[in-house]
Symmetry: C2
Subunit: 158 residues, 2 copies
Amino acid sequence: MDHTRWLDDEEMRMWLAFIAAGTLVDRELDQQLKEEAGLSHLQYEILIWLNEAPDRAMRMTELAERLINSKSGLTYQIGQMEKAGLVRRRPCEWSGSGVMAELTDEGRALLERTAPGHVEMVRELIIDVLTPEQRAAIADGLGKVRDRILERKGEACW
Amino acid sequence: MDHTRWLDDEEMRMWLAFIAAGTLVDRELDQQLKEEAGLSHLQYEILIWLNEAPDRAMRMTELAERLINSKSGLTYQIGQMEKAGLVRRRPCEWSGSGVMAELTDEGRALLERTAPGHVEMVRELIIDVLTPEQRAAIADGLGKVRDRILERKGEACW
DNA sequence: TCGTAGCAGTTCAAATTTGAACTAGATACA
DNA sequence: TGTATCTAGTTCAAATTTGAACTGCTACGA
């Protein structure tokens, strides 16, 4: 009376590859960014998101959602980056409570200095390793995985 | 004079999906395991690896490599799990220095209790969301990504 | 105009992770 | 033998992450 649908070999092969690749890629990027710019991968992504936002600024909560990070974790990281002069906090115009995290010129400059090496590494680690067909399958497949989890959580949060 | 090969839309789509799916899946599994068994995903994987090893035991360093984890991190986690009675440490027969982490009966029992729900969740989150073609592409593609990083690091370690 | 509820962020303590330094058991070889 | 080296694990302090509790606004209904 074991209803469990265990993973078959092919499924297991995929699962192991998925887990390991995710961990390894993240680790490598973290290390390179640390060396080149003293940033963690998370901090780098904060710079990226802010840089692409209108006015290079975003609400804390929205930023946390984009990053898939807890609110308190973001408070901490923004604190660190503020000390380092990479971002600045200011109250949100509409909203009363509400804080905008804003990229400073220094943060933007660091991002621009760092981005080429980072993209290079992303290509080397994953993009250029895959065939266009594999990239398409991963974009479609994992995109769906992501979207389903996000909607599943609905408004659940941290 | 910008030689950087920036990511095109299709590449970026894949990259974002890859990063987000990895983070989200890990988070969900962590949460479910915590609720059902009081385990982190990492601890669950320790149980899995040990359970599949000959004699249900493995050297610390090898285990750390399999898990893609730092040695000191593993020392900590094995310590926690030892307190909880899930694993046991014993000296390695050959090797003098060298410690084997060994699954206890209690650890094995917990794993067996927990595995069905975990597999269920893995299916729901990712396996059953993908088409067989996507699974094959991911297994091949990300398998290659993983293997290249592992060989790149060669004997480099923590 | 209160009082309650909800939202946005922060704070705080506890758990975990990191990486560098350290210890002890081999190994090698002069 | 004696010394330098290497490997396997551990320890330790610092950085980060977590989740729960808390603070300040806003909105809403009585």
